[in-house]
Amino acid sequence: MTQVTLSGLTKIFDQKSPPAVDNLDLEIESGKLTALLGPSGCGKTTTMKMIAGLLRPTAGDILFDGDSILSIKPEERGAVMVFQNYLLFPYMNIADNIGFGLKMRKVNKKEIRSRVEDMLDLVQLPGFEDRKPNQLSGGQQQRIALARALIVQPNVLLLDEPLSNLDAHLRDEMRVLIRRIQTEMGITTVFVTHDQEEAVVLADKVALLFDGRLQQFDAPDSFYDTPNTVDIATFFGGTNFIPGRYESGEMTTAIGKFRAPHSLVPEGDAVLSIRPEAVDLGEGGENSVSGTVLSHVYAGRYARFQIRIGNIEIEAVTEPGQVKLFADGDNIPVRFDPDKIWVLGPNAAEQPAGATTA
């Protein structure tokens, strides 16, 4: 399969605005599924189009298995892009849509027909050959778009937000299908999404992009456990931040001292981050402080508490049963598990760009 390397990849559309993609370095592993994650407008589609050869980079290089492919035409790169809005050719039936790539390669009609049939089986829409795209639902169109890409046996499959136009139920189904096909065929796949949950569920590795710049490139769980910056932790959502000073394995904050063995910064001004699930209510001892329950929500599979500690408010997510133990207004001990505290630099600007953690 194909390993894709982006090296200093940059795209500037016009001189007045900041680069759409800014000096991007990325190692996309052969045969793996890599997610390109980031908010809308951060340069994901632009990056994909450059890999596919549909846009010329302003600077930098793209390598497939170590060889630059910048001078290779899109139709010869073997990098097939599936667009967010499916873009099935409206005047062709489904069989002609799927067979398009083979027709361009002048494969004979009989072989095209049989491979189209195989593809329809693969995406679980057998017998759809003669329908027109506008007779299909969004989910079905997306599958056909996927089949149309897979039939040419691409070296690199580029999926641009393939699930974002589908409703929640279909999205789960498509996720499973994409993951299954990707694993079976072992195609190097880049999967674009703005949904962090989708990225962590699907991908072997996630590249997070803000404003065209790589923020972190890591295994999915690292984004929750050891994010590089406050911005990244915020993007993944729900984390509590408490500013303070970090020194010899200890965070000193306005609400007390906490032992914190895991830190991104050696010492100095820092931010303690702890996920709501790692906040233990009603437990005293080491790393615990006293807080007041402000409010709580029972959500079936879990419970969510708002706690005030000094003049800071934090969120805790617990077993649902804990709603019975604590009432609003109660003063209770609150403990931060030292192993689950992660200390970061005070703001994004002080993080080395593209830094990764093991």
Binding site: P74, V80, L87, Y91, M104, R105, V152
Partner: protein, 294 residues
């Protein structure tokens, strides 16, 4: 309560009809009235000049007249050739004008500028440039490409109607081009990108993807141009031969003939032009409906 009272929507509809009535009346009187009286006259009914009995003599006369048939062929030649050339060049210009480039707005302005220039001005321009004594032939003489201005091939008043076609092509390229450009921009480049990424080269992507996507629009615009060039009078009158003349010119010649008996024939020709134009407009409406449905 009162079943004769108009519902609100009915009242609204009625008031729209009342408001539209004057405009509709003008259209009906001028257009359908003219058509009806022309049709009656073509059937030899024209009491004013003493023709009172209906017959198909005029139609019989024109369809057996070699001159009329030559005019019909010539008119088809003019309309078909100029529409085809204009369509091809319009698609090519629209493709060139599609990508973003510096000065695009100015180029676009000049491209669509001659939409506002009357056909007559274009005809005078063609005369000025392409006559035997015209600018082009004099420049070519000056450059020693031809010996005398008279050696310049006939492009005006010529049997192939080249001058007429040049004028129509010049005038209709931006008309079709602006329509095609609008379609290209609304379709976007992503379909072509998909095709390229699936392995189509530039030509294949154009032929297999872009062209089918813009074709309904090209055809619709071309049908309008065809119907217009088929029925228009002034350009073949100014730039064409007197024999064979384009149909509208022939109809006019017959109508102004001193022989009053030629009038029904003139009307019959006008009816043939109207009939063919109507067929084309219907084809156009059908095509655009198919296009909208997709």
């Amino acid at each position: 309560m009162n079943r004769f009272r108009l519902s609100e929507r009915g009242a609204e509809r009625l008031s729209i009809s009342v408001l539209l009535a004057p405009a509709v009346a003008v259209i009906v009187l001028l257009f359908l009235g003219g058509l009806a009286s022309g049709f009656l006259r073509s059937l030899n009914y024209f009491p004013l000049i003493g023709l009172n009995d209906f017959n198909f003599d005029a139609y019989f006369a024109i369809f057996t007249d070699n001159g009329f048939l030559q005019s019909l062929v010539l008119t088809f030649h003019i309309a078909f050739t100029s529409t085809l050339i204009a369509s091809i060049l319009a698609v090519a210009s629209a493709l060139l004008l599609r990508p973003a480039f510096r000065g695009k707005r100015i180029v676009h302005f000049f491209f669509s500028l001659n939409l506002t220039i009357p056909h007559l001005v274009g005809a005078i321009g063609v005369l000025y440039l392409f006559q035997n004594s015209g600018l082009v032939s004099r420049i070519m003489t000056g450059l020693d490409l031809i010996q005398r201005p008279a050696d310049f091939p006939a492009m005006v008043f010529d049997p192939w109607a080249i001058g007429i076609i040049i004028q129509y092509v010049w005038k209709e390229i931006p008309f079709i081009g602006v329509i095609v450009l609008a379609i290209l921009l609304s379709v976007g480049e992503d379909y072509e990108s998909v095709a390229r990424s699936l392995g189509a080269n530039r030509w294949q992507a154009f032929r297999q993807v872009t062209l089918p996507l813009i074709m309904p629009g090209v055809v619709s615009a071309s049908v309008i141009v065809f119907a217009f060039t088929f029925g228009a009078f002034e350009i073949p009158y100014l730039l064409g031969r007197t024999f064979p003349a384009a149909l509208p010119v022939l109809a006019y010649q017959s109508y102004t003939d001193v022989d009053l008996a030629a009038r029904p024939q003139a009307m019959a020709m006008a009816m043939v032009i109207a009939f063919i134009s109507t067929l084309l407009i219907m084809a156009y409406m059908k095509l655009s409906r198919v296009y909208i449905r997709e």
